[in-house]
Amino acid sequence: MWSSERFRNIVYQIALLSLVGALIGYAAYNLVHNLESRAIAIGFSYLGQEAGFDVSETLIDYEPTHSYARAFVVGLLNTLFVSAVAIVAASVLGLVVGIGRLSPNWLLRKLAGAYVESVRNVPLILQLLLWYGVLTELLPPVAEAIVLGSAFLSQRGISLPWPTPHAGWWAALLGLFLAVLFAFLWARAVRRRRERAGRAPAVLWPSLAAGVVLPLAGWAVFGAPSELSTPAMTGFGFEGGKTVSPEFIALFLGLSVYTAAFIAEIVRGGILSVSRGQSDAAEALGLSRGQRLRLVILPQALRVMIPPLTSQYLNLTKNSSLAVAIGYPDLVSISNTTLNQTGQAIEAITLMMAVYLAVSLAISGLMNWYNHRVRLVER
């Protein structure tokens, strides 16, 4: 019987299962025992308890009297927000630097190259510590804040006048959304027109115009509010307005600059991957430089760029967890405070990992779907 491969396979698998099961069982036994002796409950009920700690910046309302669950959500939103903003900034910067590395101008090429080589080879946490350290050193204390009109620059960060909530601003936001919708529909209509008649109106300028006019209209129609809440110094901080903390600025700059270096290499690799023959053929057919880039080179380059780009976006989101080193209240930071206060280490860490895992799987799932949709069809 031993010589039968199938039998052996089953035995191996059962052995593996038993081993893993035994390990888990042993660990679980110790865990329960240890937690009991420390009088710590197992379970997620602690999430309903009052948090008792304050969070320095939140996107939603939060008071120390709120629950741990709400604190967790605050941290999660902070993580997602800084990641999203940094992804956009890193992509734009990476695109510019990547194209700069291919520029016919020697100075630009070398400069872009120096940027990539210096940023890529230093650990991110060190860059974050440096950004944060420099910012806190350079920024003056609140009492001696630099005044720029009605804005203030101090150790608390940048304090800006911010519009007070009013229907007019929401209408402007709606207008922006409608403008984007308009741009899509307009592009589609233009494409149909071109197919039918050959000549067609432009897409870019009307879309940009809509992007300006529609929000403006919404703002005007709903009362044209212009009331701003201006920051005013009060002791150790500012009341009113919106303050962007140095922690956020340091994290945003650090993540963007670091990830942009990798994205620049991806962009360069993508554009180089399209063979010279493709642009030769497009040139020979009479396509202009812009048309060559848009219709032939970029579609092919993008297909090559998407998988590594996905992985960089994922890295950025995971790297945002380094916020804990500079005091930005992200998911890890708040979970850390929670588990220090409640002792519910297992639950807190599991929750943290589960969230990151979910975000990772969501982003890779999305990218894989898109990748599959645009793949080049071959035999």
């Binding site: 071109r194 197919e195 030769d280 053929a281 009479g286 396509l287 048309q291 219709l295 069809v377």
Partner: protein, 257 residues
């Protein structure tokens, strides 16, 4: 390959390409030396020579895929210089077929052919597609119109490349070693397409090693070596009574396969 009936170019055929004293350097290396050439409308020219002789560079200079440093090139009365307007006008007149096909892999065969007519000539899609189908039929590949290049064989891809170039109604067709990258059994279908194109009166400049094609179709065979035109003559004379020693050596090598 069926020999065509003797091809006679009308004596008053206009000169469609004139090259005088063309010189080109790649850095310090001179790749074209003092080339002078005159091509009349309807002429079929085959250019041959050892690799590195500059033959591909020469035809790539004609549609400004390569730039020349000195000498004049006049295509269909338009002078080839840095002026974008001139370059565009010349590219309108010239179609090119590449050794590695260079079809756009993210577009279907039909879309490959209609891309330039739609975006450069601003034709409506319906017109462009009708023209494309006409030329796809000409190269006998209509059933593949909605396939992607990756799904076709090399010979099929090259025929699509020829159709794509024809869709822009060029007066001159340039072929840069069109069959060198093909498996032997596919060379025939592409050469047949080129022969039928020649029979319809297209002015052609063809860089190739296929001497059978040259014998059947060419009005003139040009031998280039080390950047110079060493010899040019009608095929009957070129193949049997080559004057230069270098030409004879080259012919020995390639005709002996």
């Amino acid at each position: 390959m069926d020999p065509t009936a003797a091809h006679v170019i009308p004596p008053n055929a206009e000169e469609i390409i004139r090259i005088e004293g063309l010189n080109k350097w790649f850095g310090d290396f001179q790749v074209l030396r003092n080339i002078s050439l005159s091509v009349r409308r309807g002429e079929r020219i085959v250019i041959c020579g050892p690799s590195g002789s500059g033959k591909s560079t020469l035809i790539r200079c004609l549609n400004r895929l390569e730039t020349h440093q000195s000498g004049t090139v006049i295509v269909d009365g338009i002078k080839l210089n840095d002026s974008l307007k001139n370059i565009e006008a010349i590219r309108n007149d010239i179609g090119m077929v590449f050794q590695h096909f260079n079809l756009f892999p993210h577009l279907t065969v039909l879309e490959n052919c209609t891309l330039a007519p739609i975006w450069v000539r601003k034709q409506p899609r319906a017109t462009a597609e009708a023209t494309a189908m006409k030329f796809l039929e000409r190269v006998r590949i209509t059933d593949q119109a909605h396939k992607y290049p990756g799904q076709l064989s090399g010979g099929q891809q090259q025929r699509v490349a020829i159709a794509r170039a024809l869709c822009m109604a060029p007066r001159i067709m340039l072929f840069d070693e069109p069959t060198s990258a093909l498996d032997p059994e596919m060379v025939k279908e592409v050469l047949e397409t080129m022969v039928s194109l020649a029979r319809d009166g297209m002015t052609m400049l063809c860089v190739t090693h296929e001497m059978g094609f040259a014998r059947a179709v060419a009005d003139r065979v040009i031998f280039m070596d080390e950047g110079e035109i060493v010899e040019q003559a009608p095929p009957e004379i070129f193949f049997s009574q080559a004057r230069s020693e270098r030409t004879r050596q080259f012919l020995d090598q390639i005709l002996d396969h």
